[in-house]
Symmetry: C2
Subunit: 386 residues, 2 copies
């Protein structure tokens, strides 16, 4: 096991009918900005419950945070926060709204060029303060409700923003708020959570038994939950498990003391930025082909994954690995998430654009080993095409 | 899944050679009291490293915190803290030292009768402040390094003290500090961590898949690690896994949204208080017999435990449950931890004393169902005798 630090201060408030507790969770006297996306939080009544929960505090609203939240949109929120001297941010929505709110929290008090906040990769930007933020999570997927990361779209790219100052103070996770989600978002969420686990688990072995077994447990849970929660949108138990699986997949617990990959995410981000492919879909396209090309580097963990997650113990090692890759692809497809780039109407020439974008963004040495260059990324994408 | 709140702010500093970081972890200018037990932290050089790590801060020491830390001993530390206006507590040791330090943290600023702090069971006592504390954990077992609980011995009983104010600010977990532990303490630690998981897992099913699978993962890890770490005391990887298993067993993560039992602990505490049986040993005595008598209430989870932890899928349900109980007992015995009350030189009449003590301490409605009374506790102990 590698040395590690773990500290996650977010207070999780999990369960049905807990929005009324906002009154005790948000500081008394806070001037609150509620941030959300489109109309669904209004349409399904979530916003009304949030506003009621905030009681007699001064509350402003900022709507229109889009999927893959855009820097320009978020800067409007930053201006509002500065002009109105807002002192608490409450995100109501999915990963994009939560991520966007984290950017606003970091950017509002920042005196430099706020675009610079996006230029530090996985390292924290040089900030020593951020507005306090919290979330009401309505879409289980990204884990943003219990981590310090965000991904922000800027000038045609997707950029991480990570800082310990950006942990939500609390996150309300009410599985029943997800009943009204469109199936495609639920399916994407299952894939997103699944691949979050894979990026921290299918690397090279360092003997981290608790982390490995917990990762395998979340994967098995998602395999069980995925089809059930799609077939029965109001099955509370399934949605509760999906929600807690997604949070647990990226709250740091399975990622301590082990190598991380994230190359599927980095290539996937370019597919989203260039072609508007949903984040979960982009991962479903890249992941199976990634593994085909990284069998040597990931051999031991792929075999462990095959055996412990899919019970594949027959045949030689290569056959088991191939079967595990195909089971993974079939799982994504069974949720209705297509796994070929051509399924999304992208021309084969689009691969050139992805490679150019990876180069422009410095994504030239990906993977847990830092040895995945542009040439190999191209092969992975070609393989993923059809 | 049941509704839950989860918030664990402890900063874990895990790995080799990290005591030098104490200088950045402990507030500058703090007046620090270092609390420890007997001479082993001195003998093996841990104390010297801690003192070096604390740099030029004013540091006082309090030694002599015994296993099952005594109220009277701890009150001496409280007096020292008050007299010297100590403002930061650093526990260096195992569960007893960490638990004792938590009591000192709560008691030092408490203006009432400090014994009253022990009269609230699992509910927090009415305190609104506690001294900041941190730990350097040298014995993987109790999880105290990452939770808000303590167990304190007072007037012949063992009493819980729980408060969110008592989470360590940080805990340094260096597996190499455990190399010098006596084997009996390591074996007890494995059993303690194992039973911590069981108390939160073998109850009744509520469909909490991530918690269940994580619990099963920790159990499987402990089954693998136990014999290896005893046979190879300086096997860093095994000790690292044991340490993180023990912490993960009781940092709240597997316990959210599920019922808790703790009756094995409550009966075990009386065995320790009355007969001086080590805590881990007391659990090894009670657990197998507890299950024999609670098959009906725990049936579904015992079957799940049998299948997923011990791969027991043959035979009828009762046979699988019985086999799982016997495998558990055999696992404890394989570590050198005896599982019969008579193994510890207790007379059969001692059982009467245990029942009297349970009654005196109000332990008359134990278990996740609150239906385990004194009559049944007696049967469990009689069954556990020989």
């Amino acid at each position: 096991m590698q040395n590690f630090d773990y500290r996650n201060p977010t207070h999780i408030v999990f369960g049905q009918d807990r929005l009324g507790e906002l009154d005790t969770l948000v500081p008394k006297g806070a001037k609150v900005l509620v941030l959300y996306g489109g109309g669904s939080v209004k349409r399904f009544g979530t916003l009304d419950k949030v506003l009621a929960g905030l009681g007699d505090r001064t509350v402003l609203e900022f709507s229109g945070i889009e999927p893959n939240p855009q820097f320009d949109t978020l800067m409007k929120a930053v201006e509002l926060v500065r002009a109105e001297q807002v002192d608490f941010l409450l995100a109501v929505g999915g990963g994009s709204v939560m991520d966007g709110t984290k950017f606003v929290a970091a950017a509002a008090p920042y005196e430099g060029d706020t675009a610079d906040l996006l230029k530090h990769g996985f390292a924290p930007p040089p900030i020593d303060t951020a507005l306090p933020l919290a979330t009401v999570a309505t879409l289980p997927a990204t884990g943003s409700e219990m981590n310090m990361g965000a991904v922000i779209s800027y000038q045609g790219g997707k950029f991480p923003l990570m800082s310990p100052l950006l942990y939500p103070q609390f996150s309300v996770l009410d599985p029943s708020l997800t009943f009204s989600l469109p199936p495609v978002q639920v399916a994407n969420g299952v894939v997103d959570a699944f691949v979050h686990v894979l990026e921290q688990y299918v690397t090279f072995p360092v003997g981290a038994q608790v982390q490995d077994r917990t990762a395998e447990g979340i994967l098995k849970a998602l395999i069980e939950i995925g089809p059930v929660t799609l077939a029965e949108p109001e099955n509370y138990e399934a949605r509760a498990n999906l929600m807690w699986s997604a949070t647990s997949a990226l709250n740091g617990f399975i990622g301590v003391g082990v190598p991380h990959d994230w190359s599927t995410h980095m290539i996937g981000h370019e597919l989203t930025a260039l072609f508007g492919i949903d984040h979960g879909q982009s991962l479903a396209i890249v992941q199976p082909s990634m593994w085909k090309h990284r069998k040597a580097q990931k051999r031991a963990k792929l075999l462990q994954y095959a055996e412990r997650v899919w019970d594949l113990t027959e045949g030689d090692e290569d056959a088991r690995i191939d079967a595990a890759i195909e089971r993974t692809r079939a799982f994504f497809e069974s949720l209705g998430v297509k796994t070929r780039l051509s399924d999304y109407g992208v021309e084969r020439e689009g691969i050139d654009k992805v490679i150019d974008a990876l180069q422009a963004h410095g994504m030239v040495a990906l993977s847990e080993q830092g040895d995945l260059g542009l040439e190999e990324s191209r092969k992975i994408l070609e393989d993923a095409y059809a």
